[in-house]
């Protein structure tokens, strides 16, 4: 399934930016920005993060340079940005490499990020019968599990492969 809609949570946004959530919060405050956690913002802030973290630019300067880099019409190769008048120094950004990293990070954010429950579920030592009762109440078919456990691991994996092939076939556009 291809998803090109990028409405993400704060934790997903941080994954896409390749930064801890705390860094994203601090950056928003220091740059006086309110993020809506969109894809475009994740590209921008991802580049700001890279310039801040890897190139050592102060955050505000990194934001300026990111604006300049992303504003260039042709970003298919390396772009040279951040040159101040009279200065001989500039910053070279490998934009395809940055886009590659951001794409991978965004994919992970969308697939693995998701919403989270508050806190971890409580772990309680329970009797075996209570565990099975709980699973049953939750909708787990215990007879099906017992049947599955009679198979060898190889048989279970073979069945999983067949099920996956079926899922893939169902997903294929007609």
């Amino acid at each position: 399934m291809i998803r090109h809609i990028y409405a993400v949570t704060r934790s997903q946004f941080a994954i896409a930016v390749m930064a801890p959530e705390k860094w994203v919060e601090n950056a928003a405050r220091l740059l006086n920005r309110k993020f809506r956690y969109t894809r475009e913002e994740s590209v921008w802030l991802g580049l700001v993060r890279e310039l801040n973290f890897e190139a050592g630019l102060p955050l505000a300067r990194a934001a300026e340079v990111a604006d300049e880099a992303l504003g260039l019409v042709d970003e298919k190769g390396e772009v040279v940005v951040g040159r101040k008048e009279g200065s001989s120094a500039a910053i070279v950004i490998d934009m395809p490499r940055f886009r590659s990293s951001h794409g991978a990070a965004l994919s992970s954010a969308l697939t693995l990020g998701g919403t989270r429950r508050r806190g971890r579920p409580r772990v309680r030592a329970r009797r075996k019968g209570a565990v099975l009762d709980n699973a049953s109440r939750y909708g787990v078919d215990l007879d099906l599990l017992r049947e599955g456990l009679k198979l060898t691991v190889a048989e279970r994996m073979q069945r999983a492969d067949e099920n996956a092939a079926f899922v893939r076939a169902m997903r294929k556009p007609k």
């Binding site: 490499r97 693995l112 279970r156 994996m157 073979q158 893939r168």
Partner: protein, 160 residues
Amino acid sequence: MSFATILGGLRDNEVRFVVVGGLAGIAHGSRRVTDDVDICYDLSGGNTERLAALLSKWNAYPRGIEPDLPFFMDARQFKVTPIMTLTTSEGFIDVLDVVKGVGDYTDCRRRSVEIQAFDISFRVLDLPALIEAKRSTGRPKDIDQLPELEALVALRSGPE
């Protein structure tokens, strides 16, 4: 395109990995259906380079984002994004350097069991570690699997 070709490819190319996630659950008896292979890989000894080369051969691309963006599958990419969710010519594969609640490859390997399937042998996360990993992510999708995995621990522990 199958789990067999993915796992066989990893073995043939001497990639060190432990299967984690849904497929590991299935190996232990879970009845859930999954269509991806999640692995935790070793970062040392050229393993990342071998994994990157294999994924490049399989035309790996980030899953769920628009096509045709620049994407480099090499060891440098792994340094920047060590966790990737990929679609490949052989199927979906998620690669992780660290599994929440368990740790890195060394921790995963320590808490794994070797299994035989598809005419090869490989390691999968053991059931208690898998439960900890699912609990640690906090995602509803993973939390929903806990009753089944806990029931499997109970059923496998002997007579009811």
